[in-house]
Symmetry: C2
Subunit: 239 residues, 2 copies
C-alpha cells in the first residue's frame, strides 16, 4: 500500500452503478410491470431513458432553475416523461409511486456486501451518493448493505460533482480530505473528489450500462487505486 494511503480512515462510496446494478434491477421490475399490464416495453431502454434524465435534472438544481429537489422527486419527474415517451398510460398514481421506488430496491453487485463487510473492519464505510437519505437507507435495509453511516447530497444541498459534497463529507466525519477515500465506478466523480484533496479508488463495473456497452474502463495512475471489484479493493488495502 502506498504510504499516503496509511492515513485513510473513511471510505465514501458512490452508490448507483458502483454498489448496485441500477440498470438490471430497473429492467427486471419494468419487465414485470409490462407482463402484468400486457404492455410491450423495451425494459432496458426504459431503464436507460430514466437514468439519462438524471444528470440534466441535477444540473437544473445546480443552476438554480429548480430549487433544491431530492432524487426521489427528480426520479418521479423523469419517470412521468419517460412513461409518456414510451406511451405507457396504464399505470395508476399509486402504481407510478411504487415503480418510482424501484430505486430503493436496487440490487447490489455480487461482491458488494461481502466486500463492504471486509472494508468495514478497518474503515468507516459510508455512502456518498446523490440519492436521498431515505432511498439509501431503504436500499441498505433491503440489500443488507452494512454502512456505518449514510451521507448524501441531500445533507449538503449540493449534488456531486460540486465541491461542497466532498468537503462536507470530510468535515462531518471530522477528517481531513486526505483521510477520506472516494470509491466510484465513474471517473468524473473521482476526479472531482481528487480536486478537493480526497483519495480515490476506481472500481470497474463493466456491465453497468449492459454487456458490451463499456464506459471508459482503462486504469489511470492518477487514481490511488484501480480495482476490479470491492474484494480486490480490500486486498489492495491489505485486508
Amino acid at each position: 500500500m502506498k504510504a499516503e494511503l496509511m492515513a485513510v480512515k473513511a471510505l465514501t462510496f458512490d452508490v448507483f452503478g458502483t454498489v448496485v446494478d441500477w440498470r438490471g434491477s430497473i429492467a427486471r421490475e419494468v419487465r414485470a410491470v409490462a407482463q402484468e399490464k400486457k404492455l410491450r416495453i423495451n425494459a432496458t431502454k426504459f431503464a436507460d431513458a430514466w437514468r439519462a434524465g438524471y444528470r440534466p435534472a441535477m444540473d437544473r438544481v445546480a443552476a438554480g432553475t429548480l430549487p433544491w429537489t431530492k432524487i426521489d422527486d427528480l426520479h418521479r419527474l423523469i419517470l412521468d416523461d419517460v412513461l409518456t415517451k414510451f406511451r405507457v398510460s396504464a399505470l395508476s398514481d399509486a402504481e407510478k409511486t411504487h415503480l418510482n421506488r424501484v430505486w430503493h430496491r436496487l440490487k447490489p453487485w455480487s461482491d458488494s456486501v461481502r466486500g463492504l463487510k471486509r472494508l468495514k473492519k478497518r474503515y468507516t464505510i459510508s455512502t456518498l451518493s446523490n440519492g436521498n437519505v431515505a432511498l439509501l437507507n431503504n436500499m441498505a435495509k433491503n440489500a443488507g448493505l452494512p454502512w456505518d453511516l449514510i451521507l448524501s447530497a441531500e445533507i449538503f444541498h449540493h449534488y456531486k460533482p460540486e465541491p461542497e459534497v466532498y468537503l462536507g463529507a470530510a468535515a462531518i466525519l471530522g477528517l481531513q480530505p486526505s483521510e477520506v477515500m472516494m470509491v466510484a465506478a465513474h471517473k468524473d466523480d473521482l476526479r472531482a473528489a481528487a480536486r478537493q484533496g480526497l483519495r480515490t479508488a476506481l472500481v470497474l463495473r463493466p456491465d453497468e450500462y449492459g454487456r458490451g456497452r463499456h464506459p471508459d474502463l482503462s486504469p489511470e495512475p492518477a487514481f490511488d487505486i484501480n480495482a476490479a471489484d470491492f474484494n480486490d479493493l480490500a486486498a489492495q488495502l491489505g485486508l
Copy 2:
C-alpha cells in the same frame, strides 16, 4: 401493541444517557488520568461538572449568542472551564484533546447492543442526538452499536429540544412524524418529540446520574411506551 404503533417504521434514539453511560465512562477515564498524573480529582464530580455545562452551552447556540458550534467544540470549551475549576494544570494540549474525545469512547449500557440488534430486525434504527456525526460514528465503531444511520442535531443546525430536529429527522427518513418513535431516558426530550407528532418510548436508566441519584423515573401514560430497558422495549413492540 397499541394500534397506532403499527405504523411506526423508524426508532430514533437519544444517545447520551439513553444508549451509553456517560458518567461512568468519563469517571473511569478521569480516574486513570488522575492516577497517571498523580492528581487528586473527584472523578464523578468532574464528570457531573462537565455534563452540567452542556445544556447552557447549547442554549447559547439556540439563543444566537454563539454561532452554530458542534458538540465536540462545546465539550472542549466546557472542559477548559472544568479543568480550571478543578485546578488541573498538568495536561498538555494534546492530552486535553485526547480527554475531550472520551465522549467518542462512551460505553453502552449492558442491554444496548443486544436490544438494538433485536429492534433493527423490524425497524430502521437511528441516533437522534445532539452529539455530532463524527462523535456518534466513532462511538458506534468503538462500542459496536449497529445503527442503520446516524442522524444528529449537526445535520439540522438545531439542538434538541428544538422542533427542527424531530421534524427534520422524520422528513429525511421520508416518513410522517407519527411513523417515527423517539426513544429516550429523558422526559423533556420525549415531550418535545411528542409535540411534533412523533411517538415516544421512555427507557429507564436509573443509574445515569449515579446510584441513588434518580431523576424522575415514574412511568407516564402520555408516552406510548414505558420500558425498563431496550430488551423490554423490543418485547413491548412484539419482537
